[in-house]
Symmetry: C2
Subunit: 198 residues, 2 copies
Amino acid sequence: VPRRSATQVASARADTLTAAAELASVVGLEGLTIGGLASRLRMSKSGLVGRFGSKEGLQLATLDLAADIFRRTVYQPASTAPHGLARLNAICDAWVAYLGDPPLPGGCFLTTAVVEFDARRGPVHDAVKKVMQRWLTLLEREASTAIENGELPADASPQDVAFTLNALAVGANCDYQLNRDPDTLRRARRAMATALSG
Amino acid sequence: VPRRSATQVASARADTLTAAAELASVVGLEGLTIGGLASRLRMSKSGLVGRFGSKEGLQLATLDLAADIFRRTVYQPASTAPHGLARLNAICDAWVAYLGDPPLPGGCFLTTAVVEFDARRGPVHDAVKKVMQRWLTLLEREASTAIENGELPADASPQDVAFTLNALAVGANCDYQLNRDPDTLRRARRAMATALSG
């Protein structure tokens, strides 16, 4: 058997992680097992262990991919808008669109991961916390710029703005996943607009 | 062995359900198994099957109890406030206090149940949906009264108000469970106040 090129190895790894993220978005990161993924991919368990080391290694790599999908879908389309209020509005547009048509079948992967790992201790909990903190910090920075620009009131709190936008998205995800009512998305966007009107 | 009285049977059932709700608030309703609960309670599996019929019966009864705990902790303390804005504010006070000191160890049971069952079909999904709908309808009714009373703008939407308050609570629960930062609770209450200021 010829040795596979580095590109082939990387691409096989990416395909495996995509399948892992799709599975975990429905059964949860904790429900994601080496055995479950192996049988879905018709791969050997030892092949997966070789690739990710352990269930925890697989969970961490899957979370990384999901965070990356979130960034590509929600942050990247907004990143051409000027910093401050315009960028926050562009993020909210992309975010609500993402919630209505999530790239992974179980809805927002990160919300599910937060609810699953908030009370568990360990490396996956820490990684989930870090992903969320990074996102809230990014929102806070844009809110600070909006305040400096005079686009939000001088006494507005960047942390409050970031918290509120994120809570509205999390709440909309739960509501939309449960009821599939497009009004939920319109409501979330309107509430975000109110939070951004000062 | 003397037959147990109806009161004894009811009380044993209540104790079992309390243990089930405590367990499920950490491992999830889907993680709640007849076997897991039996070993925790040092009971026989057949005794639990006799009491609840099946895992699904146990899940439904546990969800009922959790909804009841929510009503007693969040709705009941507020139910002496006059209908409309005063009652909505009293609900928000009790709600944020509940999120900061949840009666079940894993945080808001209903949020976890929504995230767990949004994509699964079946009687537990339907029951979760019904509990959430009942709560949102109650909030909408109070918002309608607040609009009639002139305490909220005439063009406010009761559905928008209910959605926003619920989203802020869901988002605060996720954030607080993950980070245990009391600022989260203050932020949530402030954002609720903003949503209720029209």
